[in-house]
């Protein structure tokens, strides 16, 4: 055993506290890297598995002969061939050839062409055989040059993540070494004056790192693997994979490849070496006498801190000077705390913002509008397979469907509207609206008849007139908030509401349902495959406009941008006159707030209920989208929180160590202070002020950083979006910052007391001697 190994071993044993801390630090570093690598490997293998389950071959070649399949089989790059013949619907014999390639193939497409295209075929201008490459499977199995290129791309994106973790790891390890060696600086100085070369000093620290790594790295890998398994398992159990990647739970495989573990170990070992080397070199570069004389900790300038001096008297002054005596250490601590603060603050805003954005796009999309959560259809009496124009609904049928769906517990609205042709003169709409309609080539308005629930819902409980006032042919003119910018908005406001209107409503009917008294207009372009013609028939409708309003809840028809709203009973009155084709048997189903609170359970209940009903189908389920969005947000939140916790923990570790070693390094000095008559209370006060200044300065730095950062995010990523899109709203989270201040301060205090506790045991003179 060389003397450097021997010394390293002795240091480890004699400085247990530091050794344990260094082991913990290396373990944490290895753990972080292991977790991210193993999660990557597991998701990769899961995707590979899922793709294999979907289609287990690398390529399929269509309609080649058995001989050609043999040619494929004999290639060194082909591992397996499956040749299947079958009869097509038109009676021809056809073949599918499924192929698996060997891992060392360069480009599957080129190989197939090279093998199956003879020069004669080329001369005769025969096309090469058609084939399909299962690139996804190749990608995940890393076969072929494209897959390898793809892997590099994916991995380099992932590397940004890994990089953050690795840098964090480096930071942790380096601090550990810096701290544990700093305490022995003087001893290194003595060694140097006895003739230890730079190399030898570096080697002592290196050996120490290696010995500690022997414990720390396997521990880190084991813990990391365990934690990855827990994370992976809980992600799988949320069905996030299923929703976003369409991967079945059964395809999920946890894989912890040895290479990745080795990579984590090697990275950590390199960091340990670099840290040990860097630390060793720092000491070795100074002339030994400087280190022995303890002039390493140079205090060139001591500024007075008036605030702390005023607040804490001599104790405050001492504390403020202590905080400043080692700038590097101070900066490291403050930066890491600030970083975790700032990340927390920004992440919180980002989570809110993504939530808003998702909601916004959900709202603006016609199909996933929260206007309704399900679109259900009721098609009784053999209507199930008929086209919408052939269906025969009675009013009773429609009411029946309505009752059935209402029993599901949802708010239900019949999709019942009349298209109303408006006579511009009769309808006392503002002339600008009329002009707008004319310019757009529209001459009609939608009239919608809502039930009370739904009526209140679209105005978010603040309807322009109570529902009861609509009864008896009264209507509300309503512009849809989403499309108000295509209307001169103020004209709606100016609009006099006391006019009455009359118009013609229209509907489509087929020839055979046309009645003699219908004033029918043939619309040719509606004729279907069998050549049936469609007619546009109209009827009279009269009403009074009693109010105007703006729809508050959700988007609506892109077709008009304006609608008349009447009440359900009036609809039934009109429908009585002519019940055919007014009813589609379509129902919007809307969840109320209570149901939305536990949307997953509600969704299950509704689907279960509806599946038990005959003649009712849900053919548009917006709730799935909603659930997925919620899950995504949840996953994003969990990930962000995990990263924040990680960085906070690193900051805490650094803080605790810096504070406690700061105290331990100054044992002699503190002992002198006590010899001069400083009480334990004063001593505690002094160190508490030190901890406090870390927290306070970091908090201030956070606030100073976050404001510009939020501005940056807004100008860089948010502006330039369409008008009306949600803004990244950042409000200075003074409260949140104060909240994180607490653990930081508490950790500091705990570290202080832990390090000071040893002082009581020794007498002051022992304490002063201990250093020599």
């Amino acid at each position: 055993m060389s003397f450097s190994q021997k010394l390293a071993g002795k240091y480890i044993v004699s400085q247990k506290r530091h050794s344990v801390f260094t082991i913990l630090s290396i373990t944490a570093a290895v753990l972080f890297i292991t977790v991210i690598l193993i999660l990557f490997a597991s998701f990769w293998d899961t995707m590979k598995n899922a793709n294999r389950e979907r289609f287990p071959w690398h390529a399929t070649i269509y309609n080649i002969s058995a001989e050609e399949a043999e040619i494929l089989r004999s290639s060194e790059f082909v591992a397996e061939v499956e040749y299947i013949t079958f009869q097509s619907t038109s009676g021809e014999m056809q073949s599918d050839t499924n192929v698996l390639f060997t891992p060392d193939i360069h480009d599957p497409a080129t190989l197939i062409r090279n093998l199956l295209c003879t020069p004669e075929m080329e001369m005769n201008g025969e096309p090469p055989p058609a084939f399909l490459i299962n690139q996804q499977l190749l990608d995940f199995e890393l076969i072929g040059i494209k897959a390898k290129a793809n892997f590099v791309t994916v991995f380099s994106v992932l590397y940004i993540f890994i990089f953050i973790f690795i840098i964090c790891a480096r930071f942790i390890i380096d601090t550990a070494f810096e701290i544990s060696s700093k305490e022995r600086e003087m001893q290194f100085g003595i060694l140097a004056s006895l003739g230890a070369s730079r190399k030898q000093i570096v080697r002592i620290i290196l050996w120490e790192g290696i010995i500690l790594s022997l414990v720390a790295i396997p521990t880190g890998i084991l813990l990391g693997t365990g934690i990855s398994y827990i994370i992976f398992d809980s992600v799988i159990s949320t069905d996030i994979l299923l929703s976003f990647l369409e991967v079945e739970r059964t395809a999920a495989v946890f894989s912890a490849p040895f290479v990745y573990m080795a990579a984590a170990a090697v990275t950590a070992l390199i960091w340990v070496m670099l840290s040990a080397y860097g630390t060793g070199m720092r000491f070795a570069k100074k002339p030994p006498v400087e280190v022995i004389r303890r002039s390493g900790e140079k205090i060139d300038k001591v500024k007075k801190s008036r605030i702390l001096g005023k607040l804490g008297g001599i104790v405050g002054t001492l504390a403020s000077r202590n905080v400043r005596r080692n700038k590097k250490r101070f900066v490291i601590t403050v930066v890491s705390i600030t970083l975790s603060f700032a990340l927390t603050v920004i992440m919180t805003s980002v989570i809110d913002y993504t939530d808003d954005v998702v909601k916004y796009y959900q709202d603006s999309d016609e199909y996933i509008s929260p206007r309704y959560h399900y679109l259900a259809e009721y098609r009784p009496n053999g209507n199930a397979d008929k086209s919408i124009f052939d269906m025969k609904f009675t009013l009773e049928d429609m009411k029946k469907g309505y009752e059935l769906l209402e029993a599901s517990g949802c708010m239900v609205q019949m999709n019942s509207f009349l298209s109303c042709r408006v006579d511009n003169n009769d309808l006392a709409l503002h002339s600008e609206i009329a002009d707008y309609y004319e310019a757009q080539g529209f001459a009609e308005l939608d009239i919608k008849y809502y039930n009370e629930d739904y009526y209140n819902y679209i105005f978010s409980g603040e309807p322009p007139v109570p529902y009861s006032e609509l009864r008896g042919g009264n209507y509300v003119v309503c512009n849809n908030s989403e499309y108000s910018d295509c209307l001169p908005g103020e004209c709606v406001v100016d609009y006099k509401t006391d006019g009455s209107f009359s118009g013609t409503f229209t509907r489509y009917v087929t020839e055979d349902t046309l009645r003699p008294d219908d004033d029918a207009e043939l619309i040719e372009h509606f004729s279907d495959e069998t050549g049936r013609k469609f007619y546009w028939v109209s009827g009279e409708i009269k009403g009074n406009i009693v109010a105007n309003g703006t729809r508050l809840n959700g988007g609506s028809d892109a077709y008009t941008g304006i609608e008349l709203i009447g009440c359900e009973e009036d609809f039934f009155d009109i429908a009585k006159e002519d019940s055919r084709n007014l009813c589609y048997g379509e129902y919007y189903m809307i969840l109320n707030e209570a149901q939305l609170r536990d949307v997953e359970r509600t969704d299950r209940a509704v689907n279960e209920y509806v599946s038990g009903l005959e003649d009712v189908v849900i053919w548009m389920d917006n709730v799935d989208m909603l659930i997925n969005t919620q899950r995504f947000n949840r996953a994003f939140t969990v990930l962000s929180v995990a990263i924040i916790i990680l960085i906070t923990v690193i900051a805490l570790i650094n803080e605790v160590n810096i504070i406690s070693t700061g105290i331990l390094n100054r044992r002699r000095e503190i002992a002198s202070l006590r010899a001069l008559g400083m009480t334990k209370g004063q001593l505690t006060g002094m160190t508490l002020i030190e901890c406090g200044s870390y927290s306070v300065i970091s908090a201030i730095a956070t606030l100073l950083i976050c404001e510009p950062l939020a501005l940056f995010i807004n100008t860089k990523f948010v502006t330039g979006q369409e008008a009306g899109a949600p803004q990244f709203s950042y409000s200075t989270p003074v409260f949140a910052v104060l909240l994180i201040l607490i653990p930081i301060f508490v950790a500091g205090v705990a570290a202080t007391f832990a390090s000071l506790s040893g002082f009581g045991k020794n007498s002051i003179s022992e304490e002063m001697r201990a250093i020599e």
């Binding site: 004699s14 004056s193 006895l194 003739g195 230890a196 070369s197 190399k199 030994p288 020599e772």
Partner: protein
């Protein structure tokens, strides 16, 4: 033959207003086997001079020759080798390695040199210095006088060309001081060890072959006694 020669040795600490000329153009030579006392008021630059000779500091200007070789012309690595083979340093505060026992402390420079320590020499030397029965103790288990004996033993063990002692008795009572000086004189006689001793104690200085007095970084007196 001169074992040590300094040429115009100067050391300046700090810059501008804070500039301190700790050593200002010191030149002298020491022949082999001479025991030299360096005296002077506190802050006069004695320690600085000793450190520069011992290769543990860097001069601002000037040169140090040991055995005819320019000490600070060497690479860092060779400087380390120089320290472990040619110089034995004794400090006022012993500077032992607290985690190593006495034996390991003494043999450390040899171990660092990659050589096997000579056990018989260790025992002989330890017996002479009166610490033979404490070889397995840790420094913290020794008295100040014993610790200083260990540090002298460490300095003598590799048989260096130069023994440099910075107030070796400054921290000891008069009985221990006398014993330590006896030991140093004994090794000077017995091994023809060249020595430079910084001291405030006139008695000690008078026992030396030569006294160099320093003030404000300059040699103000240089007397050969015998």
């Amino acid at each position: 033959m001169d074992i040590l020669r300094t040429e115009d040795l100067t050391k300046v600490y700090g810059k501008g207003e804070n500039e301190v000329r700790a050593l200002d153009g010191v030149s002298f030579t020491v022949p082999e086997g001479q025991m030299t006392a360096i005296i002077g008021p506190s802050g006069s630059g004695k320690s600085t001079l000793l450190h520069l000779i011992g290769g543990v500091d860097k001069p601002t200007s000037g040169k140090v020759f040991v055995n005819g070789e320019d000490v600070y012309k060497q690479s860092d690595k060779n400087l380390a080798v120089f320290r472990r083979r040619h110089v034995g340093l004794i400090y006022q505060f012993y500077n032992l390695i607290p985690i190593l026992n006495v034996k390991d402390n003494i043999t450390l420079p040899t171990l660092m040199d990659g050589r096997k320590p000579d056990e018989t020499r260790l025992v002989q030397l330890a017996e002479k210095l009166g610490i033979a029965d404490r070889l397995n103790a840790l420094p913290s288990q020794l008295s100040g006088g014993q610790q200083q004996r260990v540090s002298i033993c460490r300095a003598l063990f590799s048989n260096p060309s130069l023994l440099l002692a910075d107030e070796p008795t400054g921290n000891l009572d008069s009985k221990n001081s006398r014993e330590i000086i006896e030991l140093l004189r004994m090794s000077n006689k017995e091994f023809r060890q060249t020595m430079l001793i910084i001291t405030h104690d006139e008695d000690i200085a008078l026992q030396c072959d030569r006294i160099i007095a320093i003030e404000d970084g300059r040699i103000i007196r240089d007397e050969v006694m015998k």
